[in-house]
C-alpha cells in the first residue's frame, strides 16, 4: 500500500497529508474528539447523550493504548520485528510521568514530607535517590518520558541488532527484558514504590487531576498525541526509509547487499517506536491515576501485539482500530462476566492468527477490492486502482 513514490517530491514530514488514508484517519479522529468534547460539555448531565467524565477518561485511556499499538505496528508491521516487550517502554514512559506527578504532590502526602514521596518515608529513606532528581521540573520529566525508553531501546537494540538477533529469538529476548524489568520494579529497593507503584497523584502542571476539565484536557492531549504519532509513523513508512524497512522485513540479507546498514535502520525505527510507546505510557498514567510494575508484565506486552494483529498489521490505522476494539471488549467483558474475558482474549489470539491474518483492515481492503471489481467500468475507480493494488 501507500506507494506514492513517484508523485511525492515534497518534504518527508508533510508527505502523509497527501495520502487518502491519512486524511480519512485524521478526519475521523478529529471528529471523534470534537464529538466527545461536545457531548461532554454542551449536553447536560442526565441527558442520555451526555458523555460523563468517567467515559471521557476511559476514551482517553483507549487513545493512549491506540498510540502504543501504532508504535508496535511500526516495528512489527513494517520492520518485521515482533517485540514482546513494548509494554516495558510504555511503563518506563509511565514511570517518568509518575515520578513527576509524585513530586508534584509536595508536602500534601500522608506523611507530609516536603520532598520525599510517601513510600520513601514509609521505607525510612532520608533522601531522594539520585535518579529522582529533576523530576520536579515538568520539562525535565517530559523529556525523560521520551529519552528514558529511547535510551533503553537504543542500548538493547544496539546489542540485539548488531548480533543479528531477529525473528522469534528477538521476540523471546524482548519478553525476557520486560520480565526482568517487572521483577526489578517489584523490588522496594529500586526506588519506584515497589509493588504498589506510584499513585495518589494530585495535579499536573498546576491542574487538579480530579477535575473534569483536566480529564477532558488529558483526553484531548492524548488524541492530539495520537494524531501526531500517527503522522510521524506514516511519514516514516512512506519515506524511502520506510521502503528500506519493508525490504528488511522481507529479505534482510538482500537489503544488506544493497549497501544498507540494516541494523542501523532497525535500531532507528525501534528507538522511535519505543519513544512513542513511552509517550503513550506518560499520557496513560495521569488518566488512570497509577503506575505499577504490572504494566511490565509479559502478558500485557503480548496483548498489545494482539490489538495490532486484530486490527491488521502494517496499516497503522488498523492498530488504532484493534486497540480500541479489544479494549472496548475488555471493558464490556470485565463488567459483565469477568471470568469469560480471558477465554475471549485467548480465543481472539487463535482466531485472528488462523482466520484473519490481515486483521480487520485486511477485511476492509478485501471488501473494497470486491466492490471495485464489480464496478470496473467506472473510470474513476480505475484511476485509483494503481495505488490500492500496490
Amino acid at each position: 500500500m501507500s506507494l506514492t513514490t513517484e508523485s511525492s517530491t515534497n518534504f518527508w514530514l508533510t508527505r502523509p497529508f497527501s495520502e487518502r488514508s491519512t486524511q480519512i484517519f485524521l478526519g475521523v479522529l478529529l471528529a471523534a474528539l470534537a464529538l466527545v468534547t461536545l457531548l461532554h460539555v454542551a449536553v447536560p448531565p442526565g441527558n442520555p447523550l451526555h458523555v460523563g467524565a468517567y467515559t471521557v477518561n476511559l476514551f482517553g485511556k483507549y487513545l493512549s493504548y491506540a498510540l502504543l499499538a501504532v508504535a508496535v505496528d511500526l516495528v512489527w508491521g513494517y520492520l518485521g520485528i515482533l517485540s514482546l516487550g513494548h509494554g516495558a517502554f510504555f511503563a518506563i514512559g509511565g514511570y517518568a510521568m509518575g515520578m513527576y506527578l509524585m513530586r508534584q504532590i509536595g508536602d500534601r502526602g500522608t506523611y507530609g514530607h516536603p520532598v520525599l514521596p510517601d513510600f520513601m518515608v514509609f521505607l525510612n529513606w532520608d533522601s531522594l535517590p539520585w535518579f529522582w532528581h529533576g523530576f520536579d521540573m515538568a520539562w525535565f520529566a517530559f523529556a525523560m518520558v521520551l529519552l528514558a525508553p529511547g535510551l533503553l531501546a537504543l542500548v538493547f537494540g544496539f546489542l540485539a541488532f548488531r548480533s543479528r538477533v531477529t525473528g522469534v529469538y528477538l521476540s523471546i529476548i524482548t519478553q525476557a527484558l520486560t520480565f526482568a524489568l517487572m521483577l526489578a520494579f517489584f523490588r522496594n529497593e529500586m526506588g519506584f514504590g515497589g509493588n504498589n507503584g506510584l499513585t495518589d497523584f494530585r495535579e499536573i502542571v498546576g491542574f487538579d487531576l480530579r477535575s473534569d476539565a483536566t480529564r477532558l484536557g488529558l483526553f484531548l492531549a492524548t488524541g492530539v498525541a495520537l494524531a501526531l504519532g500517527y503522522i510521524l509513523c506514516r511519514a516514516i513508512v512512506t519515506s524511502k526509509l520506510g521502503r528500506v524497512s519493508v525490504a528488511t522485513r522481507d529479505a534482510e540479507a538482500r537489503t544488506r547487499f544493497l549497501g544498507y546498514r540494516v541494523e542501523r535502520f532497525q535500531l532507528f525505527v525501534f528507538v522511535v517506536s519505543a519513544m512513542l510507546a513511552g509517550l503513550a505510557g506518560a499520557l496513560y498514567v495521569p488518566q488512570v491515576g497509577i503506575i505499577n510494575p504490572s504494566e511490565f508484565s509479559p502478558i500485557f506486552s503480548i496483548e498489545i501485539v494482539l490489538w495490532v494483529a486484530l486490527g491488521g498489521r502494517a496499516t497503522l490505522y488498523g492498530a488504532v482500530i484493534g486497540a480500541i476494539l479489544v479494549n472496548y471488549a475488555k471493558t464490556i467483558f470485565t463488567g459483565v462476566m469477568p471470568d469469560a474475558w480471558l477465554f475471549a482474549l485467548g480465543a481472539m489470539f487463535v482466531l485472528v492468527t488462523v482466520f484473519l491474518p490481515k486483521g480487520v483492515a485486511g477485511l476492509f481492503r478485501y471488501l473494497k477490492r470486491r466492490k471495485r471489481e464489480d464496478q470496473t467500468t467506472d473510470p474513476d475507480h480505475q484511476h485509483t486502482s494503481k495505488e490500492a493494488s500496490a
Binding site: 513514490t5 548480533s163 525490504a247 522481507d250 537489503t255 544498507y260 546498514r261 494503481k386
Partner: protein, 278 residues
C-alpha cells in the same frame, strides 16, 4: 573463529568505526585479485588454494561441478564468508577481507543470488529505487526525495531490463525470469564495478535465456561481470574467458574452446557430464 576476531568484526557493523571507502584503484592491474584462498567448514575444504584474477571490464564465466566451491567463492568476495587464509583484493587498494557486507556492496561489488530475491511487497520501480547508488545512511534515506534525475535513471534501467510496462506492479507478481532481470536491474542501479551473477538462467525459457545473454554481454565493458553457470550452451553463447573450478581450486582457464579441449576438464567435468547425458 577466535573471539577477538569476532569482536573486531562486530565493531564494524556500524560504519562510524570503519574507514571511509575510497574509489577503486585499477591503474595497477586487475579489478579482483584472489590469492591462495582457503576455506574449510568443519575440516572440509570448500575452497583450497584458490587463485583468481578478473580484469576491469571483463566478462568471465565460472563453471565447475557441484561442490566445486563456486558459491563459496562468491560468499568470500561479498564478505559473507571469511576465508581461513589467503587474500582478496578489490583493485589495488581495498583488502576485502577487512570489510563487511555493506561496505563491500557500497564499494561497487554487486551480487545476484542463485534464487532471485527481490522485495516482493514493493513495486518494480521501488525495488530499483532502493538499489540505486545513493547516500544510504539513515537520515538521508529518511528525507530522500524523488527527483527527475533519479526517475530518469530508473526509467533507463527499466528499459534495459525490459520491465517498463510493469513498473508499478509489486515485484511479487513477476515471473521467474522477470525477477531475475529485475535483480540484474537492481545491480545496475548500484553502478557496480564488479557484478557477480550466480546461475542467472536457471529455470528460464529459451527466449528468456537469449534475452539474458544479450543483457549480460551488453554490460561487459562498462562493468566487470563474473557469471557462475551450469548451462553449457548459455556459457558458450556469452563467454570470452572461462575458468573451471574443481574441488575448491582452479582447474583450467582460457577460452571456451581451450577449456573444453583440456583433458583434465573433460575428465572431471565435461566428461562426467557426457556420461550423464549418455
Amino acid at each position: 573463529m577466535s573471539l577477538l576476531q569476532s569482536l573486531s568484526q562486530r565493531d564494524r557493523v556500524f560504519d562510524f568505526m570503519a574507514p571511509q571507502a575510497s574509489p577503486v584503484d585499477v591503474r595497477h592491474g586487475p579489478i579482483l585479485y584472489m590469492e591462495d584462498v582457503t576455506v574449510s567448514f568443519d575440516g572440509f575444504k570448500a575452497i583450497n588454494n584458490l587463485n583468481l584474477t578478473i580484469n576491469d571490464g571483463e566478462l568471465r564465466c565460472i563453471i565447475g561441478p557441484n561442490g566445486a566451491g563456486k558459491t563459496t567463492m562468491m560468499d568470500i568476495i561479498t564478505g559473507k564468508t571469511r576465508p581461513n587464509s589467503g587474500s582478496v583484493w578489490f583493485g589495488s587498494r581495498h583488502n576485502l577481507l577487512h570489510m563487511n557486507e555493506p561496505d563491500i556492496a557500497s564499494l561497487g561489488i554487486g551480487r545476484k543470488f542463485q534464487k532471485p530475491t527481490v522485495f516482493e511487497a514493493l513495486s518494480v520501480f521501488e525495488n530499483l529505487e532502493l538499489a540505486m547508488a545513493a547516500d544510504k545512511r539513515i537520515f538521508p534515506t529518511l528525507t530522500a526525495r524523488m527527483t527527475g534525475e533519479i526517475k530518469d535513471r530508473i526509467d533507463e534501467v527499466l528499459e534495459t531490463i525490459g520491465l517498463k510496462a510493469l513498473r508499478h506492479q509489486p515485484a511479487g507478481i513477476l515471473s521467474h525470469g522477470q525477477k531475475q532481470w529485475l535483480e540484474i536491474g537492481m545491480l545496475l542501479m548500484q553502478r557496480p564495478r564488479l557484478l557477480l551473477v550466480d546461475e542467472p538462467v536457471a529455470g528460464m525459457t529459451e527466449q528468456e535465456m537469449e534475452r539474458t545473454a544479450e543483457l549480460l554481454t551488453g554490460l561487459a565493458g562498462k562493468q566487470s561481470v563474473v557469471v557462475v553457470e551450469h548451462d553449457m550452451g548459455f556459457v558458450r553463447s556469452i563467454a570470452r574467458q572461462v575458468t573451471v573450478l574443481h574441488q575448491g581450486s582452479v582447474l583450467a582457464e582460457g577460452t571456451m574452446d581451450q577449456v573444453s579441449n583440456d583433458p583434465k576438464v573433460i575428465e572431471v567435468y565435461l566428461g562426467a557430464d557426457d556420461e550423464e547425458a549418455a
